[in-house]
């Protein structure tokens, strides 16, 4: 009887452990964390104004958020996801891509993103910052269900960001051959 009780206790413990493991593995936040873009910022060579630590953190947070939503917008062809993170020319361009993807039945993905940001210019009054982004990601283009392009891309972007009411927004996101 005592042996049976011990066996049952062990069995229950195993099942609980398995359930916790399953719950962790199926957690969307866990996958979100894994698939979230990795963003680092080097602001040591910025001029004419140095970038305050709090501003650096805000830029990294908002740039990461912007690229997460950029991937989601291109995957689902939802231009709404670009709002409030992209403004001006960057917003117009990306909306153009989304609407033409919708017309042609195409989608695209930016997977396993890594962004190395370097702040190269920060305006004297802090109203605009220019960044160099060496981005690395797996870029996929789909026509319906068919994958027509799949490459590990390293792309250099010149980025202009400006501060909004509560976040930094991307105003220019322009790929260049090299810095």
């Amino acid at each position: 009887m005592k042996q049976d009780y011990s066996y049952m206790k062990h069995h229950v413990r195993m099942r609980v452990s398995a359930m916790i493991l399953l719950a962790l593995l199926s957690s969307p936040t866990l996958f979100a964390a894994d698939n979230a873009p990795q963003v680092t910022l080097d602001a040591s060579k910025t001029s004419p104004r140095s970038v305050e630590a709090l501003t650096q953190r805000a830029i990294v947070r908002d740039y990461k958020f912007a690229w997460t939503n950029l991937d989601a917008a291109m995957e689902s062809n939802s231009a709404g996801l670009l709002n409030s993170l992209f403004a001006g020319t960057a917003n117009d361009s990306l909306r153009g891509t989304v609407s033409s993807q919708q017309r042609t039945g195409m989608t695209s993905r930016y997977l396993n993103q890594r962004h190395k940001l370097e702040a190269v210019f920060y305006a004297p009054v802090g109203d605009v910052i220019e960044l160099h982004d060496t981005a690395e990601y797996d870029f996929e283009i789909h026509d319906g269900d068919k994958t027509i392009h799949n490459e590990h891309a390293i792309v250099h972007y010149v980025v202009l960001m400006t501060p909004g009411a509560d976040r930094w927004v991307i105003r220019q996101l322009q790929a260049v051959p090299q810095f």
Binding site: S93, P124, Q174
Partner: protein, 299 residues
């Protein structure tokens, strides 16, 4: 510009198959050098370009750019024409040709010539004599709002009434040129322009008087008390301070002290104070203090 075959080279899990996989991938890269499409090497935003194809038969052509995604049926062996409108945005483009399998090539579209200047100037109002108090940032864009990254010289010109215009040439770096300067000695509009070839952007900074300086007061007894007023209130450069600048008058009558705040109106601040005995009146505005005025008691 780069080419690639778009079949994933990823699914070789077994160690024994790794070498085979590497050979397959290398072979695919070698084939990619002979991809059946040749993309433009010097494309410029807003200019038509064409992509050459080789082979025969029909295929599907795709173009994915910074603001465009297009799909088109094409005949292999013929050029694929891309219109000026399809290449308006500077950045990287991926051209894909699918006929059975897909091949792709990447190319860049460079920005056009500078057509607009975005010119940010701060502040809109600046006190005179402020060291490095005015700054401006100019960003160069082409007609399609692509940031023009090629170095260019922007001329900043500052013109204040009654003084010789000053100018300086600054070369753009990654599309940005900037300057910083001190404000002048005289109040008034400071015209600032940024120009690049025939593209000009103008802004105005209003230079205003700085803090009051050398405050002087005069006064006299009246039936109601003491009427005190300042001489015209000016900053240290001689500019009259703006209306509304507050001057605080202080009257000491023995142990009693009374204060009156009066705004400057047409260069002068005026106040009436109640005092019967002999008083000492002084005035202050900002960090400036004036002379002391002694007035005898009322008879």
């Amino acid at each position: 510009m780069s080419s690639s075959i778009n079949t994933a080279c990823k699914s070789h899990n077994v160690h024994g198959a790794l070498v085979t996989g590497v050979f397959i991938c290398l072979a695919m890269v070698a084939v990619a050098q002979d991809a059946p499409l040749r993309v433009p090497s010097n494309a410029v935003a807003g200019q038509a370009a064409s992509i050459a194809t080789t082979g025969s038969g029909s295929a599907t052509f795709y173009l994915r750019g910074p603001s465009i995604s297009l799909k088109r049926d094409v005949e292999l062996g013929q050029n694929i024409d891309l219109s000026a409108k399809e290449l308006q945005t500077s950045g990287d483009y991926v051209a894909i040709l699918c006929a059975g399998s897909c091949s792709s090539a990447r190319f860049f579209v460079a920005p056009g010539k500078p057509a607009t200047l975005t010119f940010l100037v701060h502040p809109s109002r600046a006190p005179v004599g402020l060291n490095d108090g005015i700054n401006g940032v100019a960003l160069t864009f082409d007609q399609f709002h692509n940031l023009v990254l090629a170095p260019a010289t922007v001329q900043f010109e500052l013109t204040a009434k009654g003084s010789t215009p000053t100018s300086r040439n600054v070369q753009t770096h990654d599309g940005i040129a900037w300057f910083r300067t001190s404000s002048g000695k005289s109040a008034g509009a400071l015209q600032i322009s940024a120009s690049l070839n025939d593209v000009v952007a103008r802004r105005v900074v209003q230079q205003v008087a700085s803090d009051p300086c050398n405050l002087r007061i005069k006064g006299q007894r009246t039936a109601k008390g003491i009427l005190v007023e300042t001489e015209p209130v000016r900053d240290c450069s001689g500019n009259p301070v703006p209306d509304g600048t507050i001057v605080t008058f202080t009257a000491k009558d023995g142990h009693e002290v009374s204060f009156v705040d009066a705004p400057v109106k047409q260069d002068i601040a005026r106040a009436t104070m109640v005092a019967k005995g002999s008083v000492v009146v002084s005035a202050a505005s900002g960090v400036a203090t004036g002379n002391e005025l002694r007035l005898g008691g009322q008879e």
